[in-house]
Symmetry: C2
Subunit: 135 residues, 2 copies
DNA sequence: TTGTAATTGGCAAATAATTGTCATTAAGGG
DNA sequence: CCCTTAATGACAATTATTTGCCAATTACAA
C-alpha cells in the first residue's frame, strides 16, 4: 500500500500536543524552518518533544499537503506552510544567523535567459546577506 | 599550520595524469560538475582513477583558486572553473538528467525585493526544467 | 638513472542526517 | 470512565558522503 496523503486522510488523526507545538512553530515563525529550528521552537512549548517526533510530524504534514519542502543552496531543507508555498515567492538567507525569510516579488523576464532547446519549468531565487537583526 | 592556498603554492606540485584527467573534465564539460560526474568523466581518460583521488584533487584545485564550489538547491555541490565562476552568472538544472548548465545573463533589479533593514550581499538563481538533450 | 617525497587508491573510520524498533504513553470514541 | 490503538521518545541501526590511514606507486630534480 502506498504511503501518501490518501492513507493519512483515512487514518485517524489525533490532536496531540506535539503536533500542535509544531504547527504553532510554523504559524508563529512566518518563515521557512529547518527540522532543528522546528525542534527548538516547538520545544519551548513542550520541552519533552523528541527530535524523532519532529521528523514524523513533518512527514505527516507533508503527506497532508499542509506544508511543503523548500530546498535551498548550501543549507539543509526548510519547510513552510502550503498556503505560503502555493504563492510564488523567493527567499532571503541570512549568512550570519542561517535563517531564511520570505521575499515577495519576483524579477521576472527569465524565459529570455533560457538556452535554445531547453524547457523552463520553474525557478528558484535566493538572496543572501544579513537580516535586519544581524545587520 | 593552516591548510590553505599559500601552503599549496609553496609545495611542489606534480603534474600527475590524475590531476590532468580532472582538469580535462572541467575543460571539456563546460558546465559545473559534481564529484561523481568528475569521477565518471575523468575515468574515461584514466580508468584506474579512484574516487578518493578525485576528492583530493578537487580540494587542491579549490585551494589553488583554480575551481570554485557551486551550492545548488536539492542536489550535491558542483564545482566549476574559477575563470567561469568569477563572471557573474546563474545555472539551469535539468530535472531529468540532473546536470547543471551555465546561464549567462541576470534578471537584475533585485535590490527592490529586499526587506527594509536587510543587507543584500549576493544572490543565486537556479532555473530548472529539461535540457535540450532531455526535452 | 637514481633517490626522495608527493601522490595514489583501497579500505576503514568518522560524520551527519534520517529511519527502524519497541515499550510506554495518551488521545478520544463509545 | 474505559479501551483501543495512534503516537511518542529513547536508542540503535541505516544510509550517504567525506576523510584518515598507509603501503605501493610515480613524478621529477639532481
Amino acid at each position: 500500500m502506498p504511503h501518501g496523503r490518501y492513507l493519512e486522510v483515512m487514518t485517524a488523526q489525533r490532536q496531540t500536543k506535539q503536533l500542535q507545538a509544531v504547527r504553532n512553530a510554523f504559524e508563529s515563525a512566518g518563515r521557512p524552518l529547518s527540522i532543528d529550528e522546528l525542534h527548538q521552537m516547538a520545544s519551548e512549548d513542550l520541552d519533552s518533544l523528541g527530535l524523532r517526533t519532529v521528523y514524523r510530524v513533518v512527514r505527516k504534514l507533508q503527506d497532508a499537503d499542509e506544508i511543503a519542502v523548500v530546498s535551498v543552496p548550501g543549507s539543509s531543507d526548510r519547510y513552510e506552510l502550503a498556503s505560503v508555498a502555493s504563492k510564488h515567492h523567493h527567499h532571503f538567507h541570512c549568512t550570519s544567523c542561517d535563517r531564511f525569510f520570505d521575499i515577495h516579488g519576483c524579477p521576472g523576464g527569465l524565459s529570455k535567459l533560457v538556452p535554445e532547446g531547453f524547457k523552463l519549468e520553474r525557478h528558484d531565487l535566493t538572496l543572501s546577506g544579513l537580516c535586519d537583526a544581524c545587520a
